[in-house]
């Protein structure tokens, strides 16, 4: 089912939870709403379910305006963050609930309900738990019950609020793959909320990155990671290094050292360059270009060298990931002066008071200018690199 969100706003007193959000979800799509706490992603999900009223805008299912419809009428499947199973009912009764509360004219017979619930329990692989109570189940089992209960009513769309949030890491990975398979097999249109970028990247067809009640960028996981639309997305998805620089006569300079060519439309003035750890390579200190830096620490994990470096061009430590072999033996040592070549980077013009922590930055005031991408960089980022990108915990 196609879902359209049109200029939807929701305020709680002074707090703007959703700020004129527009979003189209295509039929059969698996969409992730990704963002830090308080970014409005759960509110948006609840708006689609009808549990949250909106101050302005419209929600359409298949083109039909359903803004005024109650959650009862919308026929959506919703899996709550903590599952919200009916604690006084067995697994079977939980799943059957949506079928039993239908008006008599639309209700299936007892036998049909029994049949349908059994099928669903088999589908989510917990048929043997039908007689148990929620308190007797593990987290993963509860999630499957919540899913079966949501699917029982034949929903037009499946909405999931942090579906893996309450599970431990191993179960989480397993369920992720299983859920994706279920989505594909049943031909569902699904939307899920998460603050975990790995989860979004691995599961979703498209990701909508949210911040301060707005959608910062929407695109495939690859687009989001490789071509972030603005500094927030750059820093929220994956790790980003920031360099203070200036644009001057078609060049980007850190102090007097050349970083690279400036994009044509960029006017001269101070800018900030962003680059991912695996897009940076090391050059000898005597080289005449590149950002000067000093190695602080070196960690070697598997085939990857993780370096932290200090540079006058950056206010934070710079993180660099090198595949072994790109640096001549022996391994670089702490204290060694080097130069950094940014194989691939983006340039943004930030306002003066742009904070160090991207989670708290006010979006409205940022002037974003799209950056350079040099083609000759050693950008060999693979799926693996993306998945292993360090996770960032978000502030609460």
């Amino acid at each position: 089912m196609r879902i359209q969100i049109e200029h939807v706003s929701r305020r709680f007193g002074e707090f703007v939870a959703l700020d004129r959000v527009s979003l189209n979800i295509e039929s059969g799509e698996f969409l992730a709403l990704l963002g830090p706490s308080g970014s409005g992603k759960t509110t948006l999900l609840r708006v689609i379910a009808g549990l949250e009223r909106i101050d302005e805008g419209a929600v359409r299912f298949e083109g039909e305006d359903i803004t005024g419809q109650s959650p009862r009428e919308r026929n959506v499947g919703l899996v709550f963050q903590h599952y919200a199973l009916f604690r006084h009912m067995t697994v079977f009764d939980n799943v059957a609930f949506g079928l039993r509360v239908r008006p008599r004219s639309k209700r299936l017979s007892r036998a049909e309900i029994r049949q349908r619930v059994s099928e669903l329990l088999e589908l989510v692989q917990i048929g043997w738990l039908a007689g148990r109570y929620p308190s007797q189940l593990s987290g993963g089992q509860r999630q499957r019950v919540a899913l079966a209960r949501a699917l029982a009513v034949g929903p037009r769309t499946l909405l999931l609020d942090e579906p893996f949030g309450a599970l431990d890491a191993k179960v989480r990975k397993e369920l992720r793959l299983w859920l994706r398979k279920l989505h594909d097999e049943m031909g569902l249109t699904s939307i899920f909320v998460t603050h975990d970028q790995d989860e979004a990247i691995e599961l979703a067809d498209r990701i909508a990155v949210m911040n301060h009640g707005r959608i910062e960028q929407i695109g495939t996981p690859k687009q989001i990671y490789d071509d972030p639309a603005n500094p927030f997305v750059y820093e929220f998805v994956g790790t980003a290094n920031r360099f203070d620089a200036v644009a001057q006569g078609g060049q980007i300079l850190a102090g007097s050292d050349l970083i690279g060519r400036a994009p044509r439309q960029l006017t001269d003035g101070p800018v900030t360059a962003f680059s991912r750890p695996h897009d940076i390579s090391l050059l000898p200190a005597q080289e005449r270009y590149g950002v000067p830096a000093t190695i602080q620490s070196v960690t070697s994990i598997g085939g990857i060298l993780r370096l932290k470096l200090e540079s006058p061009a950056s206010r934070q430590l710079i993180e660099v990931e090198l595949s072994k072999g790109t640096w001549v033996d022996p391994d670089p040592e702490p204290g060694t002066p080097v130069r950094l070549r940014l194989g691939r980077f983006s340039v943004f013009r930030l306002p003066d008071h742009y904070p160090e922590n991207p989670i708290y930055y006010g979006r409205q005031i940022v002037h974003v200018q799209h950056g350079v991408q040099q083609s000759d960089g050693p950008s060999k980022e693979t799926e693996d690199n993306i998945r292993e990108g360090p996770r960032r915990e978000c502030g609460r």
Binding site: R72, N75, L78, F80, A84, F86, R87, H88, F97, V101
Partner: protein, 288 residues
Amino acid sequence: MAAITEASRDPTVHLTEGAVARWALISVSVAFLVLFLVLPLAIVLVEAFRQGVTGWIEAIIAPDTRAAVFLTLLVAAVAVPLNVIFGVAAAWCVAKCRFPGKNVLVTLIDLPFSVSPVVSGLIFVLLFGAHGWFGPWLKAHGIHIIFTAAGIIIATIFVTFPFIARELIPLMQEQGTDEEEAAIVLGASGWQTFFRVTLPNIKWGLLYGVLLCNARAMGEFGAVSVVSGHIRGKTTTLPLQVEILYNEYDFTGAFAVASLLALLALLTLALKVTLEWRGRAERLAARR
């Protein structure tokens, strides 16, 4: 110094008092309980049966006493269901809705607890009595509230209304609104949600509240005494009947009626313990 090291070697030692202190504490508690709880209860029973079982039965089936039993049951039968409705509604909106003035409402619910029962009774005399605010109007329409069963019921409702709401508010707040929202998204109507999801989740708390509310409704003296007018056989409830009989030096009668109230108390206590136990077991099971 040596004692301290000695004690710290065995981790259980410094957690319990010495034998003397322990026995002293236990004796004080037991003496207190005997003096203030067991002894009065025993005296009530002994006095009630001073003239034998027949005497007790005769005292109970005396017409005025039977009328008092009937009125007490009637008052409870009206006040408790009304307070169930009020209590559930109040707890629902306090626990599950957001609205301004919520704290004021919570404070108001507690009001009958903090007001002396006599004052509670007087409020209604001032409102509905012959010289009260609504007195002339009521009189003109031939409605009598003060010195009738209606007045007793109103006063009882006022005095007992916090019990159920107080019991349910924390319970419902703890449970949140997720399950209700889940039910509505699954297509349940408001009533279906209430009867199939909310009510089963609060049933033990509700029964507990009903029990306390009932005990108080049957045992209330102060507020009822003010509005009742003590018309024998008409507007006396059990506690008032005890007072009347006692003042008339009919000690056997007074204690016989009192023994009924004591019985009610014991029954309430037993049920209370059972309900608490069931409720706790279920809450633990739900959390596990």
